[in-house]
């Protein structure tokens, strides 16, 4: 795999919810091994973009590409099988499955048979889950559920990891841990698309940042470059 | 005099458990009318049908559909007793002629009886009583009964008890199970443990098939004779197979009757519908006869209701089951036959009680 291979691409994507025009022509590319931050205020369309990439929402206009194939008509499970894992906002863990089952249900080798994230490694990363392996997902605390959602995504050994507010509700120590893991993931060549409210940390841990406002990309640059112009960024994010 | 077509409304079950019975009744009725060139009492007959679904809750609406929308002159129906009760109520109020070709609810020709309500079948009491008499004659002393916990079962068992105890026997236990439950095993075990001289039962349709098979499978048929009201083995023999062989039942009809009318009826029915008639077909046929007799008496003039009803009440019906008349309460006064299952037939082996009328208690007409 060449290092700048395009894994996921969106070109001029428009999305409607009924009458509401939520994405108004967004373009975004995720290349192998690249970490991208997606920022924007509440309700600007970040999650909508992600759900469109995953195939849960249909773009009314524009083109989605998943590994060079037309993604617009791909079902979400096909998208996921092309090596894209997703941690949704709100976690969506399976409450009626135990922690162990949550981690096993979708576990599979990644593309090329990679198996970087076997169960023991996930449990090493989140020891808290190890203590609660046989508990029902419903019984976990909010943060534990969040860890479980991330662990579950990793269990599919993805090439692209999409994290929508994955650190929400996690203790600072765990957040640091997660960012460390994202770092590790980056190092192993897994690409990531990260939505997170802590834009400073995002800037520090990604290659590139895209800022959405009212369904449009209003700012896109290398993270290092953006970090150097905090005023513009702060204005866009409303700080 | 009226000359237009006379409208007959069939309110019968065309779907669900009793659908086959509904069709047989209709076939029997039509056969008689067709034999007379499609006319009764000189009036051409026209039919309207309503599926009563064996649903008492819809009974009043369904018969109203026939009477008020389709303007039928006569209603013929039905199989299910609860539905028949609802029909009788409406018939009584509207004064519409109702001929019941099956439902055996005692009340319809008891407290509910009316000048415009007739039955050409039986009351649940009749076959039960007859079997009670037979069981006593056969020397049984202690008998158990088993049936579904519903009106028809209670009435049939009541009749049996009356006939049996009159003959000196004793019903030691009345077993029931909720309708339409068909899990009999527990009660069969009770029977096996109590070892009565015999068992009397009232079941019909799918329940009858299953009960007879279960009874045989438990080996009880070898030690404790099973007696039943005729529905136990009517229309069910093919399904019951070997397990029903030799069973004794009582009914107002059976195979191998020596009645000449029966021979011609059977031949005609078989020719018309490519299948053998059953008791339900006979009852339908007789319903048509009864109506025909009445209509002839008034020369097709349906407006002469009192004369019509008087003629019908006094009718002597040349039934395939053997001629019968109606009692004061408009229920057949008829011979009840004792029958034995042989092969696929309910062979008549004798008359259990002769010209037996239903007591019709409660009927003030």
């Amino acid at each position: 795999m060449s290092i700048d291979a395009k894994l996921v691409g969106a070109r001029d994507v428009h999305v409607h919810y009924g009458e509401a025009h939520v994405l108004r022509g967004v373009s975004l590319t995720i290349r192998a091994g690249e970490a991208i931050g997606l920022l924007g205020r509440n309700g600007m369309g970040k999650s909508t973009l992600i759900r469109t990439l995953m195939g849960h929402l249909r773009a009314s206009r524009g083109r989605i590409e998943i590994r060079g194939q037309d993604g617009a008509r791909m079902r979400p499970d096909r998208v996921a099988r092309s090596g894209i894992a997703y941690v949704p906002e709100g976690r969506a863990i399976f409450g009626n499955l135990s922690v162990r089952e949550n981690l096993m249900v979708a576990a599979r080798p990644g593309t090329g048979g990679r198996d970087d994230w076997p169960l023991p490694r996930i449990l090493d990363t989140f020891p808290r889950l190890g203590e609660r392996l046989d508990h029902g997902g419903q019984q976990l605390s909010g943060g534990e559920q969040q860890m479980l959602a991330i662990g579950r995504a990793l269990s599919t050994n993805p090439d692209v990891l999409i994290l929508d507010e994955a650190t929400e509700g996690l203790a600072p120590r765990i957040v640091q841990e997660i960012w460390r893991i994202i770092g590790t993931i980056r190092a192993t060549g897994i690409a990531s698309l990260i939505v997170d409210r802590n834009f400073r940390t995002v800037l520090a841990n990604t290659d590139r940042v895209v800022v959405l406002e009212k369904g449009l990309v209003v700012l896109e640059d290398r993270s290092a470059a953006l970090a150097a112009q905090p005023v513009e960024l702060a204005r866009r994010l409303g700080v | 005099a009226q000359t237009g077509k006379l409208k007959v409304g069939f309110m019968l079950p065309y779907s669900g458990t009793y659908a086959a019975l509904g069709n047989a009744i209709e076939n029997g009725f039509r056969l008689y009318v067709n034999e007379r060139g499609g006319k009764l009492g000189g009036r051409e007959i026209e039919y309207v049908k309503v599926d009563d679904e064996s649903q008492p809750a819809k009974g009043a609406d369904n018969i109203n559909t026939l009477i008020k929308r389709d303007n039928v002159d006569v209603v013929v129906g039905t199989v299910h007793s609860g539905v028949a009760m609802a029909m009788a109520k409406v018939a009584k109020e509207t004064g519409t002629l109702l001929v019941i070709p099956n439902a055996g609810a005692v009340a319809v020709t008891g407290p509910m009886c009316a000048t415009n309500i007739f039955r050409t079948s039986f009351s649940n009491w009749q076959p039960g009583y007859a079997m009670g008499v037979v069981a006593a004659e056969r020397g049984h002393k202690k008998v158990m009964t088993i049936t579904w916990k519903y009106a028809a079962g209670d009435e049939s068992v009541g009749g049996f008890k009356e006939g049996f105890e009159k003959g000196g026997g004793q019903v030691i236990k009345e077993l029931t199970l909720p309708f339409p439950n068909v899990e009999f095993q527990a009660l069969l075990t009770e029977i096996a443990a109590a070892k009565p001289d015999a068992v009397y039962t009232f079941f019909a349709g799918g329940g009858a098939v299953k009960f007879v098979k279960d009874y045989a499978a438990a080996g009880l048929n070898k030690t404790i004779p099973l007696y039943g009201a005729g529905f136990l083995t009517d229309g069910t023999l093919e399904a019951q197979g070997d397990s029903a062989q030799g069973l004794l039942t009582t009914l107002h009809y059976g195979d191998g009757l020596t009645v000449p009318k029966d021979k011609s009826f059977r031949a005609a029915y078989a020719a018309a519908y490519k299948m053998q008639p059953d008791v339900y077909a006979v009852q339908g046929y007789d319903a048509a006869q009864l109506l025909g007799i009445g209509l002839s008496a008034v020369k097709g003039d349906f407006s002469k209701k009192p004369d019509l009803y008087k003629a019908m009440a006094a009718a002597k019906i040349d039934s395939p089951r053997g001629a019968f008349t109606l009692g004061k309460n408009h229920n057949p006064v008829q011979d009840i036959y004792l029958r034995r299952v042989e092969g696929k037939e309910n062979k008549v082996i004798g008359v259990a009680v002769k010209a037996r009328a239903d007591p019709g208690s409660g009927c003030t007409m």
Binding site: H14, H16, G18, E19, S60, R61 | Y14, S15, V48, K49, V50, D51, Q55, P56, A57, G59, A60, D61, N64, T65, I67, K68, R69, S81, G82, M85, A86, K89, V90, E93, A105, A107, M112, K149, Y150, A151, A152, D154, P178, F179
Partner: protein, 331 residues
């Protein structure tokens, strides 16, 4: 839609119904009477299912209990007084509803469905297996209740046209009562409970009591329809309490469209008319015997193509049209 237009439709419908008996007599009059009673029954369930989110599969119990009460409370050979018989039957239904509600409201979701079913079956078997109400064969009402004040008979319930207006009046009253009730704070609280009970409790609503009140009220209203049916037919049978009846009225709601009162009424009419139509020999000849096939097919098709029920059809068409327009715009 302007406020006036919104008011126009119900007024036209009400006027049409009021004028109906002047044009039609006999079967269709009685049929419409019967369906209006069913509509009241459906409305009472709508209060539970549509408004409160409590799916009861035992609603026929209250309907049947009131019907039985009508007969059992009526004297044998004289007419009962309408003005005390009606409340008395409704109270009978409400008391059973209160008892069932108090127990079954402890459970949720499918469990609630099944528990209400179980209690209805219990009532069913009480009438089915005991001679209390004539067993399986049911019992008759000898004399219809008299609408009389101090011995003066005001209207004769035996007259179909009069009875039509009585039922129609009840339907309008129940509809209006529920329409106002559901907009009141009590009604909105029920809506909140349906949507998110946890949050309602956290806000300070004693939700159990609200639900119990709704459950009892729905039982009483179902009792009203049971009373009306018993007086109309003069015959009751345990099958009135069977789960088929409970299921049928639930189907009316779903078919009509849940969450709107008019959906319940529409559903009752649609269900009854479809059944009548498919059973009609004049149209379907001998195939009318297989009316259930046609009814089943229609139901399947309506679920497939009308997810919001009949009442949601206009909105669905509008959405479809605007989507098509949007697509045309984009292209």
């Amino acid at each position: 839609m302007s406020a006036r237009a919104r008011l126009a439709a119900p007024l036209v419908v009400t006027a049409a119904f009021a004028a109906f008996p002047l044009l039609v007599t006999g079967f269709y009059l009685e049929f419409t009477t019967k369906v209006m009673i069913l509509a009241i029954f459906a409305l009472s369930l709508e209060l539970l299912v549509g408004a409160t989110g409590l799916v009861s599969l035992g609603h026929a119990a209250y309907f049947g209990i009131a019907a039985y009460a009508t007969l059992l409370l009526s004297p044998q050979y004289t007419a009962a007084n309408f003005f005390w018989l009606l409340p008395a039957t409704m109270v009978c239904a409400a008391i059973y509803a209160l008892a069932v509600g108090a127990l079954s409201l402890r459970t949720k979701g499918v469990y609630f469905i099944m528990v209400t079913l179980a209690f209805a079956q219990m009532a069913y078997y009480v009438f089915h297996d005991t001679p209390l109400g004539g067993g399986t064969d049911g019992i008759y009402l000898n004399v219809k209740p008299a609408v009389a004040i101090a011995g003066w008979t005001i209207v004769d319930l035996g007259n179909p046209r009069t009875y039509y207006y009585v039922v129609f009046g009840c339907l309008v009253l129940v509809f209006a009562f529920l329409a106002i009730l559901l907009e009141s704070r009590f009604g909105r609280a029920l809506a909140g409970i349906k949507s998110n009970e946890q949050r309602m409790r956290a806000a300070g609503f004693p939700t159990f009591w609200y639900k119990l009140a709704a459950f009892t009220l729905a039982g009483a209203l179902a009792g009203l329809s049971g009373f009306l049916v018993a007086v109309k037919d003069g015959f009751v049978n345990p099958e009135m309490l069977s789960w088929h009846e409970s299921g049928a009225v639930l189907l009316m709601l779903i078919l009509g469209g849940m969450g709107r009162l008019s959906g319940a009424v529409l559903g009752a009419f649609a269900f009854a008319l479809l059944q009548l139509f498919f059973q009609w020999e004049v149209v379907f000849g001998n195939f009318a015997q297989h009316w259930q096939l046609l009814l089943g097919g229609t139901i399947i098709a309506s679920v497939a193509f009308m997810p919001q029920g009949l009442i949601g059809l206009p909105a669905q068409l509008r959405a479809w049209r605007s989507r098509r327009a949007a697509r045309a715009r984009d292209a």
